[in-house]
Amino acid sequence: MSTPSPTVTETQALKTTGSHLRWLLSTLFIATLVALPVISVFYLAFFPSENIWAHLADTVLPVYISTTLLLLFGVGALSIAIGVSTAWLVTMCRFPGQRIFEWALLLPFAVPAYVIAYIYTDLLEYAGPVQRALRQIFGWQSYQDYWFPDIRTTGGAILMLALVLYPYVYMLARASFLEHSSNIQAASRTLGCSPLQSFLRVSLPMARPGIAVGLSLVSMETMNDFGTVDYFAVKSMSAGIYDTWLNMSNLGGAAQIASLMLVFVVMLITLERIGRARQKQFSGSDRFKDLDRYQLTGWRAGFASTVCLIPFAAGFLVPFCVLSLYAYENFEISWTEEFVGIAINSFMLSVTAALAACMIGLLLAYSKRLSPSRGLLGAVRFANLGYAMPGAVLAIGVIIPLASFDNGLDSLMREHFGISTGLLLSGTVFAIFFAYVVRFLAVPFGSIESSLAKITPTMDMASRSLGHNTLQTLFKVHLPLIRSGILTGALVVFVDCMKELPATLILRPFNFDTLATYVYQYASDEMLEESALGALLIVLVGLLPVILLSRSIAASHQKK
């Protein structure tokens, strides 16, 4: 499929300079730092207050496992179905609304999963407007008179999670489609492929790395979700983790379950990587040529618009309207002066964490490209595990190294200088910032890595042979090429941070709220209406960068 080009290993001959060593060392250092919380949780796993497994295996473990697998499979399949099909349609075709859908399909991502779960429950439950209308139309009297699907089920949880998580797949699939060489596409058509065949045999396999990254993000989010599954009374592994920790006072046992979940995630990701280890593709130099889009007309155009409209409406329009209505009705009780400060907290923390995560992600991904040695790969993979860990457990993992550092420094200072430094990092915004970076690093890393993978090593060689060092090569050659990958990563981390709840709750300083924690204290009591304004703000603040970045990603392809 691709022109014969030197493999990455062949290019290693180029890399025995001092600047490489500096890269390597700083990468190792940062990767270790980011991996500390996950390592702390592994450490905790060695100290259970009792062995939990015999009890679990005898009772609920089969339920936890089967429910988790069902969730993973359901959410994954649905996300791919929605994400890939819409990404391909808006990238490769022209149809009414296509330009709007390009960014609108990202919007459901700004809605926190637990918020959408509350909203749909309100709408679809017995006392909700949908069933009330049905009762009126058909003259049903009571609960026993008719059947209506129950949203508080595993199926309901799958639907809710897929509606807000499919944008991961959409985003990365779209970036992949955009980065494709349009020549390959054209070649496949001249060789007699129909548009569908061309999609299945050329576009899809070439987008596989991107889709795989998106899918692994979706899977990890699904695994560590607690808010939605708890509200729907769905017993997944994370329910087991919290139960063991809080109800059986066995944090060590909970850490064991969490660690096992991580092992499972790593296995999944490794399997996928092995599956495509042999396909290496680099895009040619013509990648920025305008794509030849299919012009859709008639029923095809209508069909394409409908396919894109459904996830956008269900994942964004409906919850957005309900939230707006709640916020309007409760404006007086929910608007306070603190509100602006809370929104600023959320915004600043999310921006800072997104920047830092992107820089670190770039560093790790680039070092991995420079020298994919085993030690480095191991460290990098460890640093990316935070994403698969339930937030509250990760928060404990963050507390441990920060508090050790603070207390260590404190006793050192007391001993030698007679001053107490107290807690420098614990209980500050830094703790939250650190947790965000640890938790979401996998996102920019994944998206940058998959963008980098598409750049042929001949580019590196050319740049190096022209006298640029590693850093200059990165800035002059790679960065312009992977700009959309970086922007995608930044956007996702930003929105994820805006929504992050469990770690923020546990780690925050005194009297400190983000929009998510503010919404939660009411929403957790099923009083979402009272904090609808906050939820709406999360969505709105999340919208702005989604739209801006999405446009700039598209522009980066159209301009050149």
Binding site: N247, S249, I396, I399, A403, L423, S426, L505, I506, Q521
Partner: protein
């Protein structure tokens, strides 16, 4: 767009304010620092009154879980003076980890009955609540259900609603059943209740009363204060209808009494503002705060002689409370949790 200089500027612009935020830990003259597992908005009015009365500022971090671990790891440098909980469970956990210290206070001893505080003064209950039965006015005759044991009677098959068996309120109730009847009997009972469920356990306590109103089930388990919150809910008037559709039944009035739980407070071992913290504890047990708890949250004040909410008096009146030791309830929680798994209560 990407230049080294740009990145440097950006990182300077973002890191500076963060550094400033880190370097300035809250250190006003008079304050008390609270880690709270209770929702902040529930305790805010009392804290505000405290600050108005004493000039001491109360700082709060609220999180339902993880704060005990935070106190534990922060060690002797922790900023937490007090830890507030909505239940006996976490009280027991933090005391067991040795992260608390006893408080010698005549005010606390005088205002809190022995049943609701630790014999060694490591923890104190501030309010109590009962786990009661909400029964449909239309479909359950008066006197038809009288005790927790009755919930397992097969005649209620398909008639009972409750939240997750793993919820801390239900776990405490199951613990008390284990303490009263032994593990084997408690298991049989829980199996009986499970067999009577109208639907898979889900939602919170209010959602169960709503389900009774809607005819999904006839009987629900719920904490007592939710009734007050529903029947006074002007913002969501439909909840008044839910509350009006049920009778409140305090179980086991003929024998041991209704199951009780507390919201509690402990003083941390390394509290830096110990004096202020004790002041706040005493304030929360004082007539004013106790009265506020009753009026605002419809909880039962622990302090004898505090007027209950008129509304509580009207609908609940006097009742007999189970005087089972809360330490026993807390100690049986892990067993209770395993029992819920064993019976498959939530499946």
């Amino acid at each position: 767009m990407f230049s080294l200089k740009g990145i440097k500027q950006l990182s300077a612009a973002t890191l500076l304010p963060m550094a400033a935020a880190i370097a300035l830990p809250a250190q006003a003259a008079e304050e008390v620092n609270i880690y709270s597992a209770r929702q902040a908005f529930l305790i805010k009015p009392m804290l505000k009154a405290f600050t108005e009365e004493t000039g001491i500022k109360a700082n709060v971090v609220f999180a339902k879980k993880g704060l005990i671990e935070r106190i534990e790891n922060e060690g002797q440098n922790t900023n937490a003076d007090l830890f507030l909980t909505p239940d006996i469970g976490p009280v027991y956990d933090i005391v067991n980890k040795g992260l608390t210290q006893p408080v010698k206070s005549e005010v606390l001893v005088k205002n809190i009955p022995t049943q609701y505080r630790d014999p060694n003064n490591e923890w104190f209950g501030l309010t109590t609540r009962s786990r009661i039965i909400y029964a449909s006015k239309e479909r359950v005759k008066e006197g038809e259900i009288k005790s927790y044991e009755d919930l397992a009677d097969p005649k209620w098959k398909g008639k009972i609603c409750t939240r997750s068996g793993k919820h801390t309120y239900n776990l405490s109730l199951i613990s008390s059943m284990i303490a009263t009847h032994g593990e084997a009997e408690a298991e049989k009972w829980l199996q009986g209740v499970k067999a009577n469920l109208a639907r898979k356990p889900q939602g919170n306590d209010r959602a169960q009363v709503k389900a009774v109103k809607e005819g999904v089930c006839d009987i629900a388990l719920g904490n007592s204060y939710y009734f007050g919150k529903m029947i006074t809910n002007a913002k969501k008037p439909e909840q008044i209808g839910w509350a009006q559709s049920v009778n409140l039944i305090f179980p086991n009035q003929a024998d041991r009494g209704a199951h009780m739980n507390i919201s509690g407070v402990v003083l941390t071992k390394h509290a830096k503002n110990k004096e202020n913290a004790v002041k706040l504890m005493e304030f929360l047990a004082s007539p004013l705060a106790q009265y506020m708890y009753a009026q605002e949250n419809f909880e039962f004040p622990v302090r004898p002689g505090t007027p209950k909410s008129t509304l509580i008096n009207k609908y609940m009146g006097e009742f007999k409370a189970d005087d089972l030791s809360l330490a026993t309830v807390a100690a049986n929680r892990s067993k209770a949790s395993k029992l819920v798994d064993k019976v498959g209560f939530d499946n």
